[in-house]
Amino acid sequence: MPVSTSPTAHTSSAASLPTVVVVGHGMVGQRFLEALADRGLTAAAGTARVVVLCEEPRAAYDRVQLTSYFAGKTPQDLSLVEPGFMERHGFELRLGDPAESLDREARTVTARSGETFTYDTLVLATGSYPFVPPVPGKDTEGCFVYRTIEDLLAIEEYAKTATTGAVVGGGLLGLEAAGALKGLGLDTHVVEFAPRLMPVQVDEGGGAALLRTIENMGLTVHTGVGTQEVTAGEDGSVNGMSLSDGSSLATDLVVFSAGVRPRDQLARDCGLAVGQRGGVIVDEECRTSDPAVFAIGECALASDGRVYGLVAPGYEMAQTAAGVIAGQEASFTGADMSTKLKLLGVDVASFGDAHGTSEGCLDVVYADSRSGVYKKLVIGQDGTLLGGVLIGDADQYGTLRPMTGTVLPVAPEQLVLPAGAGGPVTLGPSALPDEAVICSCHNVTKGAICEHTTLPEVKKCTKAGTGCGSCVKVIGQLLPQSQDKGLCGCFPYTRSELYEIVRTLEITSYAELLDSHGREPARGGEGCEVCKPTVGSIIASLAPTVGASGYVLDGEQAALQDTNDHFLANLQRNGSYSIVPRIPGGEITPEKLIVIGEVARDFGLYTKITGGQRIDLFGARVDQLPLIWTRLVDAGFESGHAYGKSLRTVKSCVGQTWCRYGVQDSVKMAIDLELRYRGLRSPHKLKSAVSGCARECAEARGKDFGIIATAGGWNLYVGGNGGATPRHADLLAQDLSDAELVRLIDRFLMFYIRTADRLERTSTWLDRIEGGLEHVRDVVVHDSLGLCDELERLMADHVRGYRDEWAETINDPERLRRFVTFVNAPDAPDPSVKFVPERDQVKPDLDILAGPVLAIRTLEGTAS
């Protein structure tokens, strides 16, 4: 059933306008529509009627990011069409209604629905189809391709009953598909006919580095073998493959990813010229052999004789065709095939003449098979950079690619060698010429970027950085670096300077600090969402010392806290909250577990074991929080501060008490530490863990402060974290006694709280501060600054001043007043917080929140 999203008014009045019919609404088709809109060729502008035939059941989406579906992106997140775009321009989009035949003489297109459209200009943007080698059994149930959202949904569903998966094809897409299968929990194999992975993009050395890294991730790679047959079991579904070397591979699921072929059937059927190996032949203006018909994107065979399987050249063709149709001069004569990808977490980049095919060129290669790094630059006889391959570490891609074709300002080996071995010289992007293309997705030059001053502005005005995102880092380096180290628009001081001001002047009020130390124009104002919680946190961590109330929601402090702290719970996407009671060290009695279960059951909360050895209860309305916490506090629970920038958990392993390897009581130590530092407000959250021996089951080295038992006591590691940029903690001191350990952690934490920036984890802090770990060791172990007494005193104040926030809240009617949804209807529950069933529990009902939905974009630099 075709759906038309445009108002009928446009359709009727537009009937007499010149008509453009677009076949295919993929990435390039959508870009073409945007280009038409930019040039004023729309029904809304009264200049053209535009009909778009879209085969898929959904409008254009970001196929390049397809795999991010498995990382939690929804099909809506992937959409490329801004809400209201079609309506605003009067484009007639017909979903699920592909073109079935063309009549070039009559200039008509007939769609599957039977409707016929007469065109003045026809644009083919039909993309490619995945090539499935003609092996016997290729259509067996359990065989898939990897191209559309529908393909992913089908794979995901089928994988639920599978344990092993095989991908046929070890190219770019094959490896992405393999990553997805691995992510779905399948034991994954990759079968590649060529002798190396990604044969098109990388050379032999690069393929070898890639192979090692990918095998280390637990994927099994078979290179140099072809698939001969897909075999089926008794139930008729896939049970294995036989390979060309005579071996066979048992598998429940097969994904074919053996390359793509242009979808040129429509064009063939109506006699348009197509290439020998497929692709609709077009000239520099993207016109086919029929001047009224254009072809763009992956279905086109460009005038340089290539079919481009990348999105950036397709976008250029879209611009070219739209320009030509609008009567402008435009041409597409070819594009470079540079790519940078993050495949399965490995950086892979190739650019320019990566295979070194130019005459007389030389390779400069650095390979370290242990770390899976391979870098090759191809240099011409005159020293020009011709191209390169970077595997495992592609940081330099952003600067090297735009330098292709120029003579490098330094010796090339300096660019590929690692630090400490004569390199790397980091060629700043400032060395690039103005014409260098920085964003290849959108063809934006350095010169164009430098006309702007902020990243959001660059994205908005030039689109640079909004495609694959690989250029964002370089764009950041090109923009003016602010000399102003101030925390935000309100304060000219850094967080650690503000900490010193609050501590020494004993300031207990945000308004007082803003009016006395804020930037002139900000004084007397409201402050902002950056400095308010930061100052709130500083005052809270110094509360007992400076004489502020230790309760974070007293008086003015209440206004400083982000919503999570304000309601002592974490806000969820539908406006409900989650509850995480503290479970020190992860140790819990059966009685307490039963209480949590009962509370969750009685309030209908979704219940989940967290990654931090405790239990999260989701879906509470604001007005339910006090009722829930009354039950929990009565049973002896305390706030787990999952909402605060403060200590989260101290994880433990079972340790010496039970484990045959344990050498210390790790559980007791974890509980002691968690109780000591609970409630400590800090620049970012703090996590810890204690392992009972070097086997490290508690993952202590992934924590801000981690402790590992030794026969002689405890080793203290600092500056570790998980998250997006994992870092292992560094050893600060060895074989400490219990008391030495606690004293050293006291000092370390207080020194961090005093000197770190806002939202700076201990890992980034340690890497940033001058002197790094050595300096921190000097200060907290050797007391080089004479600060240790004071640091210990501050911590003693904190430990003495600690009170459970939830107990204090539920025992005070004044404080409880805030826990209502509506100030004028305290008994009315929030009507927008509703749930629907999911796997025997509940999940938010997002349908009732739906309205004119906007693309969800998180703002830059707003870590929660």
């Binding site: 959001p456 628009g489 309100c490 308004a511 124009p521 900000a522 007397g524 104002g525 409201e526 402050g527 902002c528 969402e529 308010k532 919680p533 008086g555 003015e556 209440a558 206004a559 400083l560 982000d562 919503t563 999570n564 304000h566 309601f567 806000l571 996407r573 539908n574 406006g575 007043r817 949804t821 509506f822 100030v823 004028n824 209807a825 009315a828 929030d830 009507p831 927008s832 997002l846 929140l849 739906a850 309205g851 004119p852 939905v853 906007l854 969800i856 974009r857 998180t858 703002l859 707003t862």
Partner: protein, 119 residues
């Protein structure tokens, strides 16, 4: 315009919202903490986010965060940008001008504003 004055219990002012030709009494002014919001329910089921700034001025905008659909703007943090008060959504942090409802981070987005009185 000291904050202390605003917070005292003697504050007897009442917050009212325009509802058609009438003014709907919402709550005592003293229930609002300067720099923080509360949500109010209109008779027709719409949700309004109410705020007062340090100077005691009241603002009212729609409670629905247009970026996520959740009814949470009343729970965001209030700030000011060149004297213009705004609230930052507690979900994804987009800022909305309290006086005009315009999103400061996306020209194409805004939320409705409501007439409000504190007297």
């Amino acid at each position: 315009m000291t904050t202390q004055a605003m917070e005292t219990a003697q504050d007897t002012r009442v917050i009212r919202l325009a509802a058609g030709d009438d003014w709907l009494t919402v709550c005592d002014r003293s229930l609002l903490t300067p720099g923080r919001g509360v949500a109010a329910l209109l008779p027709d089921g719409r949700q309004v986010a109410l705020f007062v700034d340090r100077a005691g001025r009241a603002y009212a905008i729609d409670n629905r965060d247009p970026f996520t659909g959740a009814y949470v703007l009343s729970r965001g943090l209030v700030g000011s940008d060149r004297g213009q008060p705004f609230v930052a959504s507690p979900l994804l942090k987009q800022r909305f001008d309290l006086a005009t409802g315009a999103c400061l981070d996306d020209d194409e987005v805004s939320v409705p504003v409501f007439e409000v009185r504190a007297d």
